[in-house]
């Protein structure tokens, strides 16, 4: 008998150990992040994570939200939708996360979004730029914190339509992001300025290292203007090749996010002067107190300047904290209701989470790379800020895509 009692005590203790993480979990708000932390996209995902960490540290230092600290778990999806989805499932089922976040890979983002819909877990997309996330595949549980290709293209078209160029050439990475951004710029440009002509297109494989053969062909086609739809590491290679081949001296170029510090930083003082670009965040502009404070904190924590992606991580952290605070409890439905239409303070100014499609409205800055007396790399100059209300697709336009 004694033996049985002893055994049952042991058993109870063991079971207690098994369940203790669950009881501990009641004290925190858990955020599960699935993103690519290896290979080429790691550069962008790490920036998102650093921005998010900064926000979480700020929030937790002030005692957290609703008396609970924010706790986060990261998983490396290796740029693979199947792995990413499995990781997201594991985070939901095993760790019991309250919110999901990620991912740079659009296919992974869409797969996790489906899971979020099924499991009723809010999912904040922090770096994929696919317009499908809040567009045709949008639903109640998914939110996009990053600017999408539809937004970027439309903002660029507003600026380009005011320029005198007529004969255009489109060149880019042969994958979804490249095609989506090019198509979006072109559709809007054609609508705003019907006399523009498309002379031709060039598409190279993702990860192409040598752009010279493509560029020399574009130069000989003599367009007035080149829309370069590249992403990731190719942005740096392409900008370099554009300068070395003399393309930039002959034909003006637009490239979304080329003015970002993540691209211009590595190129240093010898970077290509005069490329046009759009970007939702610059660490040196506008020189608002909130931006300065954020940049200072970021540099202290990571010993580098923040790229635009850090803003998305930071904004996601703010949204999570403010959302649960407004909801008053850790309740998914209340949290989602709270996020809809929520306005947060960010280094890029006040940002509104649009209630109709769950897309964060971001300002878009259009500028041109130029040398800076202050920094050892090129910065954006002649900046025109396009407020999000001027360029975002309307709620009706977005919701129409969902009905298809």
């Amino acid at each position: 008998m004694k033996r049985i009692i002893y055994l049952s005590i042991l058993m109870a203790g063991f079971l207690g150990l098994c369940f203790s993480p669950a009881s501990y979990a009641a004290g925190t708000i858990k955020v599960g992040i699935v993103d690519t932390y290896s290979g080429p996209p790691a550069n962008l995902s790490k920036d998102v994570l650093d921005g998010f960490k900064l926000a979480v540290e700020e929030i937790n230092a002030k005692g957290g939200v609703l008396g609970k600290k924010i706790e986060f778990f990261t998983r490396d999806s290796k740029f693979n939708p199947a792995i990413g989805l499995a990781m997201a499932k594991e985070l939901v089922l095993k760790e019991g996360v309250d919110v999901l976040m990620g991912t740079i890979n659009s296919a992974t983002a869409l797969a996790v979004s489906e899971l979020a819909k099924k499991e009723k877990i809010p999912f904040l997309v922090t770096n994929s730029r696919s317009e499908k996330i809040t567009g045709e595949k949008g639903h109640r549980y998914v939110f996009s914190v990053a600017e999408n290709t539809a937004m970027a293209g439309r903002a660029a078209a507003i600026a380009l339509s005011k320029m005198p160029y007529v004969k255009y050439w489109i060149a880019g990475d042969d994958y979804e992001y490249g095609h989506a951004i090019a198509e979006s710029v072109w559709k809007e440009l054609k609508a705003r300025k019907p006399d523009v002509q498309l002379l031709g297109q060039t598409w190279w494989k993702v990860g192409e290292s040598d752009f010279t053969p493509y560029i020399s062909q574009i130069i000989s086609a003599k367009p007035d203007f080149l829309i370069a739809a590249t992403g990731g590491a190719s942005m740096v290679s392409f900008a370099k090749a554009a300068k070395a081949t003399g393309l930039l001296a002959k034909i003006p170029i637009y490239q979304h996010t080329v003015v970002d510090y993540g691209i211009m930083g590595p190129l240093g003082p010898e970077g290509p002067v005069g490329i046009y670009g759009t970007v939702p965040y610059l660490f040196y502009y506008p020189e608002s107190p909130s931006n300065k404070a954020y940049v200072e904190k970021f540099r202290k924590a990571y010993d580098r300047y923040p790229q635009m992606f850090a803003l998305f991580g930071y904004a996601a952290g703010k949204l999570i904290a403010q959302g649960f605070k407004k909801a008053g409890s850790v309740n998914t439905e209340k949290f989602i209701n709270a996020l809809e239409g929520m306005v947060i303070d960010s280094p890029a100014g006040k940002l509104e989470m649009r209630a109709c499609d769950h897309q964060l409205g971001l300002p878009m800055m259009f500028g041109k790379t130029m040398k800076s007396p202050k920094y050892n790399f090129l910065v954006a100059g002649d900046i025109v800020t396009i407020p999000y209300k001027d360029y975002m697709p309307t709620c009706e336009e977005v919701l129409k895509t969902r009905k298809k």
Partner: protein
């Protein structure tokens, strides 16, 4: 010069020169791969990682010497040597024990090394994109003939080609180690039977092959963004080149690189929207008619 343009347009001529520049880098990397494949019988996927490491070391060395012309030359000199040293350590500690294994095993082993090195590079250099500038005298472009503009760096690559090719030819055909390695490729046991230390011959060949990967990475560094993942793209192209040229045949690697580089640059001129398919289409055509590669395979 004008009479040439009646036969060939300036834009085609430009594409040919540009394609030659690409060919040189592809040849340097693929010849190293082919050498290792021919003599050691290792399908070395890790080769791509060494190319990447070469580019990253170039970044570090160039910056250590303050960039500019000195930094560039020091980097071109030192980076391939660093890569060679790394490969020597790995060869002596791992590969030398595994030469007798079947090819699939070696393929998996080198693939594992490429994954490990992908992560090592991330740990050492971080995730950010890196960039090295070409020295001033190689920056910008130059008018070769009327209407034919070429980047100076491209021209530099084309000029470097004969140096590398002659050095390789000399190494393989005129030096003792070259001759022994050629013999070892044919009959490993016979070579060791006549009292030659095959293990060190193999190590030397392996290191030379890897040196070429590092040299390719160093030479390409000023024209690209040095980033994680640059190994994957290249290793695929290098393998295709080696396969169409004839496994293990150095001049096959040259021919393969030439076909690949030219198909790419001329294909772009012909049909820019679908330029990427041309080099692969060329590979298919070659393999349809010469399944064992263009030149004699040593396998």
């Amino acid at each position: 010069m004008d009479f040439i343009y009646t036969i060939i347009s300036p834009s085609l001529l430009t594409q040919i020169f540009v394609g030659l520049g690409r060919t040189v880098v592809l040849f340097i990397v693929a010849s190293g791969l082919s050498l290792i494949l021919g003599v050691l019988r290792i399908p070395n996927i890790w080769h791509g990682s060494l190319y990447m490491v070469g580019a990253f070391v170039t970044f570090t060395v160039a910056n250590a010497f303050g960039g500019g012309t000195t930094g560039f030359w020091m980097a071109i000199l030192i980076a391939p040597l660093v890569v060679a040293l790394v490969s020597l350590v790995v060869e002596r500690s791992f590969f030398q024990h595994l030469y007798e294994r079947e090819h699939l095993m070696l393929l998996l082993l080198t693939f594992a090394f490429s994954l490990v090195f992908g992560d090592l590079v991330k740990m050492v250099w971080g995730t950010g994109y890196k960039s090295v500038s070409a020295p001033r005298f190689l920056e910008g472009s130059v008018d070769l003939f009327k209407g034919v503009t070429l980047t100076r760096y491209n021209l530099f690559l084309v000029l470097i080609f004969p140096i590398v090719a002659v050095a390789l030819w000399f190494l393989v055909n005129k030096t003792k180690i070259g001759k022994i390695s050629k013999a070892a490729a044919v009959d490993r046991e016979m070579v060791s039977a006549v009292g030659i230390n095959v293990s060190w011959v193999f190590a030397t060949v392996f290191v030379i092959g890897c040196f070429l990967a590092g040299l390719g990475g160093a030479l390409v560094a000023p024209t690209v963004s040095i980033s994680l993942g640059m190994d994957h793209t290249l290793i695929m192209e290098a393998f295709l080149i080696v396969i169409i040229g004839g496994l293990g045949n150095m001049w096959g690697a040259l021919l393969g690189a030439l076909i690949f580089g030219m198909a790419q640059s001329i294909g772009i001129l012909a049909w820019p929207q679908f330029g990427i398919v041309f080099p692969y289409a060329a590979v298919i055509v070659v393999l349809l008619f010469r399944p064992t590669g263009l030149l004699k395979s040593t396998w």
